[in-house]
């Protein structure tokens, strides 16, 4: 009964969305009731899809195998948390989660948008509803999560064991909030194109949504990367797999959007480009969710897929993305260009940022889609792997990181590069010193790592230098500086913190990719091997039974260079329902570094053991978390909150 109720709620939501879209897109110039209707309808869609999603979760939680989806992707022996996460551990359920978040954002726009101009709000809500109708309809017609089975099977087929992990509870919802949040930017961009209302205020309204989506996407990607790292047992944290690229592209474009919207908000320039980025970012999010799900690209993430769906997905993507670009081509030339600026200026630096981010996005897009195009055109089967991405990406990111600390120092409109360089001289010196020290400590092994170290330290210290410069550290008494520090606007803090976080990730990436060490050997009980000063002994082996799997647990005792000994275990599990094996790697954390141990099947009474030592690897994800926190801090800045009137600057420290 609950399942039919959920199904019905979804049908109703799609119908409601269609009506809202039709009404809003035709009558947006009209009376106030249209806006009122669109707002109510957006909230109602959220409630209805919420009911549908709750019904689905409930069926999974109680293992109702009359639901075909629960039968295929769940098992009554799974712990409750994995029963619930099974809801979105499959194609149909994940699409419903996607639509649910879409309505969540539509509802949020309706709830917080009271102060927006009526026509813009109506159009944005209508666009959001159109997306709900399109993708809700897609769920209903091609991937209905509510299909029933008769007769009811006694037991389900179990969720893919690799997904039975807490990561599934965190990673997809975070990532989807990020992806789908950009739909708001998209809807606002389309609304702006239709209504012709594109000004600095538009950028101010859109920025919080961009920030929120960006911060969730950052967390989602970082979480996904860490999950893949500890679960897949390859010891890698980024594989340039098509689906990783698919999540990375909207992140790159979204980061560019965040920066260009800043220029538009403060200076009224880059309007057309910002609108373009808003459309591109959501288009890439769509590509990310659906191209990979369609089975067109093979990836570790594609769920078992039905080829007819692929055609529908492609047509849907073509309609949404193509439609938006046609509108863009038609309306954008009519937009007035905004404030002028010299090449050397804050705007100029942000343009440079956008240029490199956009080019990097294009490089990733080319690398991801090139195999498809080549296969279709010539029948040649190729894969574009890590070497391509590492090469193009590092070359494109190097200048971006070099320029980054200059940006916040430059004045709007016209900056003085010479003066800024002077103010940054101390930061350059400190970054160079840190690089030399790091390089000495690392033993000169990888010359290129020195460049990476410098970039990372330079970005981190440049961010600190920005804060120091704003509070005139060293030029006024320290007490005054601290008072100024407390008075700095939160947006200034968040810029510095986000850039600092990026520097942390860069250092982590350099260390993990240049200085990781690895050892593959066969160990019998009591035998030891060593790696980077850590001694690893195979201590014991025991069989144990988990809730829905049997495991072989191999415990190893690890003695660190300091003499401290700790135990870690790696498990080989076989899930009973699917008899599918998985490996749980054993990971020991030492400060920011990790020792990563994967154990293979027994052979000749021993076990193949693969051990990695990954120095400072945790910095990669910590940096991302710091970036996301900076985004959250910026969201709380009063000046950026929707509808908040521009406050006069009375704090002396709030010098831009």
């Amino acid at each position: 009964m609950a399942i039919e109720l959920g199904h019905f709620a979804l049908v109703l939501a799609v119908a409601m969305a269609l009506v809202t879209a039709g009404l809003g897109l035709t009558l947006w110039r009209g009376a106030a009731w249209v806006t009122g209707f669109a707002r109510q309808a957006a909230i109602l869609q959220f409630v209805l899809v919420g009911i549908a999603f709750a019904a689905l979760i409930q069926a999974f939680a109680v293992s109702d195998f009359s639901l075909a989806l629960a039968f295929e992707n769940s098992h009554s022996d799974q712990p409750l948390i994995y029963k619930i996460t099974s809801t979105w551990g499959n194609h149909e359920g994940s699409i419903l989660l996607w639509v649910f978040i879409l309505t969540l954002f539509g509802g949020a726009v309706a709830a917080f948008g009271r102060n927006l101009p009526r026509d813009l709000l109506t159009l944005a809500l209508a666009m959001q509803s159109l997306l709900v109708a399109a993708f809700g309809g897609f769920a209903l017609f091609t991937s209905n999560p509510f299909a029933r089975l008769n007769p009811v099977p006694i037991e389900g087929r179990d969720l893919n064991p690799i997904l039975q992990d807490i990561g599934l509870a965190i990673h997809p919802p975070l990532l989807y909030v990020g992806y789908v949040g950009f739909s708001v930017c998209f809807s606002f961009a389309v609304a702006a194109l239709i209504s012709g209302r594109i000004d600095a205020a538009w950028a101010r309204w859109v920025r919080p949504w961009t920030l929120a989506s960006w911060l969730f996407l950052t967390l989602g990607i970082a979480m996904g990367s860490y999950w893949a790292y500890y679960e897949l047992g390859w010891g890698g944290w980024w594989f340039w797999d098509p689906v990783e690229n698919a999540s990375f592209m909207p992140w790159l474009a979204g980061t560019a959007l965040l920066h260009s919207a800043l220029v538009m908000e403060k200076r009224g320039a880059l309007k057309i480009w910002t609108i373009f980025l808003a459309i591109i970012t959501f288009s890439l999010s769509l590509l990310g969710t659906f191209l990979v799900r369609s089975g067109i690209l093979t990836s570790v993430h594609s769920f078992a897929s039905d080829p007819t769906r692929g055609i529908v997905i492609l047509s849907l993507l073509a309609a949404v993305i193509g439609g938006a670009f046609v509108l863009f081509a038609w309306r954008a030339p009519a937009l007035s260009t905004g404030g002028l600026f010299a090449p050397v200026s804050r705007e100029g630096a942000l343009v440079l940022n956008n240029l490199f981010l956009a080019t990097a996005t294009a490089a990733v897009l080319v690398g991801t889609l090139y195999p498809l195009v080549l296969d279709a055109a010539t029948g040649m089967r190729i894969s574009v792997g890590a070497p391509f991405f590492n090469l193009t990406f590092s070359i494109l990111m190097t200048p971006l990181l070099v320029v980054m600390p200059f940006g916040p120092f430059l004045a709007w409109k016209r900056g003085d590069l010479l003066a800024v360089t002077g103010r940054l001289a101390a930061a350059v010196a400190v970054a160079l010193a840190a690089t030399v020290i790091a390089f000495l400590l690392s033993g000169f092994e990888v010359p290129l790592a020195a460049l990476g170290f410098f970039l990372g330290f330079w970005v981190m210290i440049g961010a600190l230098a920005d804060l120091a410069d704003r509070v005139r550290a060293g030029r006024i008494p320290p007490g005054d500086s601290f008072r100024r520090l407390a008075g700095l606007p939160r947006s200034a803090w968040s810029t510095a913190i986000a850039h600092f976080g990026l520097g942390m990730s860069v250092i982590g990436i350099v260390c993990a990719s240049s200085f990781s060490t690895e050892n593959i050997t066969t160990l019998h009980r009591g035998e030891a091997t060593s790696l980077s000063g850590y001694s690893v002994t195979l201590a014991s082996e025991q069989s144990l039974a988990g809730p829905n799997y049997d495991a072989d647990r191999i415990t190893l005792s690890v003695t660190a260079p300091g003499g401290m000994t700790r135990d870690v275990s790696s498990e080989k599990r076989v899930y009973r329902a699917s008899s599918q094996p998985t490996t749980e790697a054993g990971i020991l954390t030492y400060g920011l570094s990790q020792l990563y141990i994967a154990v293979g099947d027994p052979s000749d009474g021993g076990h193949v053991v693969r051990i990695w030592y990954k120095p400072f690897v945790l910095l990669i994800w910590l940096g991302a978390v710091v970036m996301a926190m900076a985004g959250a801090l910026s969201l709380t800045d009063r000046r950026l909150r929707i509808g908040a009137p521009a406050r006069k600057r009375h704090t002396a420290g709030a010098v831009e």
Partner: protein
């Protein structure tokens, strides 16, 4: 000469153009140099693949061919027409099994065998890498997998 607005704008556009041209050149260069081609065992026989060039091979693991000696593995993959011997040092993926499709990345050795640096098997039980399925179909050796 005084810089007019027009000059400034032209300067910016020229600068952007140069950066984009360099980026495009870089991407094309990397595409030519860094892509990895996929071969089936029969392709390996027919086409002249240079020894040591990084490539991917894929096929079904022949039943009874998997030999293990500690961390050293060797197995034979087949596309129905030809076979290639693959060697790999390390831990094979959990889903590596005889009779199933795998993709190995690595390079050919002088003796005609393939030294893999990584071996991929999919998460899914019934997974057959698309490249492997296509290669087997192209050889006319395709049989529909039994439903579960």
């Amino acid at each position: 000469m005084k810089l007019t607005r027009k000059h400034k704008r032209l300067g910016i556009i020229a600068g952007l153009g140069v950066v984009l041209a360099i980026a495009a050149g870089l991407i094309l260069y990397a595409l030519n140099d860094q892509i990895v081609f996929f071969y089936s065992p029969a392709d390996l026989r027919e086409k002249n693949v240079a020894i040591g060039q990084p490539i991917r091979v894929g096929g079904l693991v022949e039943t009874g061919s998997w030999l293990r000696e500690g961390e050293h593995n060797s197995f034979v993959i087949s596309d129905g027409a030809e076979v290639t011997k693959v060697t790999y040092t390390g831990i094979l993926p959990d889903l590596f099994r005889e009779g199933q499709g795998v993709i190995a990345e690595g390079a050919l050795l002088a003796d005609g065998s393939f030294a893999a640096t990584s071996v991929l098997a999919k998460h899914d039980e019934n997974y057959m890498p698309k490249e492997v399925a296509d290669a087997i179909k192209a050889r006319g050796e395709w049989r529909d997998p039994v439903e579960n």
